[in-house]
Amino acid sequence: MTSGHKGPEQWEEDLRQGLDALSDLGDEQPPNLANLQMLVANVQQEQRRTTMRDLLLFWICALALLSGGLYAVSRLPAYFVALQGLVLVGAGAAWLTGARRRVTE
């Protein structure tokens, strides 16, 4: 097959016809409403479960950190102050590195 006699925009018409044929679904029907409704219910339930699990994990970590901090303040104040200092220096260094990267970009 040759396309030597086609007009300048013939490719666009060919593309349209080709894609129409390629994506022809015949008499295919979408999934029925009841199945889709069940899928919606399942996905949303799973989503709620994941959110609850993440929240629980967050609160467990937060409580562990808080109790560790309180224990250190009451029993090992020197270690607590040193740790706070380290966290502060680390955060500052991370911020400076990020700022420098943004400037060079």
Binding site: M1, K6, Q44
Partner: protein
Amino acid sequence: MDDITRAQRGDQVALARLLQENYLAVKKYLITVTHDRAMAEDLTQETIIRAIQKIGQFSGGSKFSTWLISIATNLFMDTLRRQKRERQYQEENAFFDRPAVGPEPEWMEVMDRLHALPRDVAMPLVLKHYYGYTYEEIGSWMGIPEGTVKSRIFNAIRALRKGMSDDDVRA
């Protein structure tokens, strides 16, 4: 209150109805960009699930179908990236279905050339010239600048036109 608002407020029937109304359009779109019905089917399912998860984030700034197309495009781009890493896409991708009998239709040559293009070059062309989306929309869905979208479409058109005579291309 329309179905979108109801769906965002937790009405599962309204959301299911919206998805049902747009299901075939999403599937057709994915067939046109993937040229692979099995992959299009899988990606349609993933698009529907992603839409259920993110319905609360739909701003209403575009049509619901356009929002679904943007999700489908993102998912297909992710698939392409994975396949690119594996360096297997071009080798493994099956050729799209040809008509079983009879002479080849006029459009087959253009479709052959379209199929030979990398998917991330062919996709902007299909989105622009078949679906009529803007360069801006295509760029945001594919995660590339507008200028890159334009140049990919330009290159894709040039590749499709190679099959035509020199006179046609110059005209």
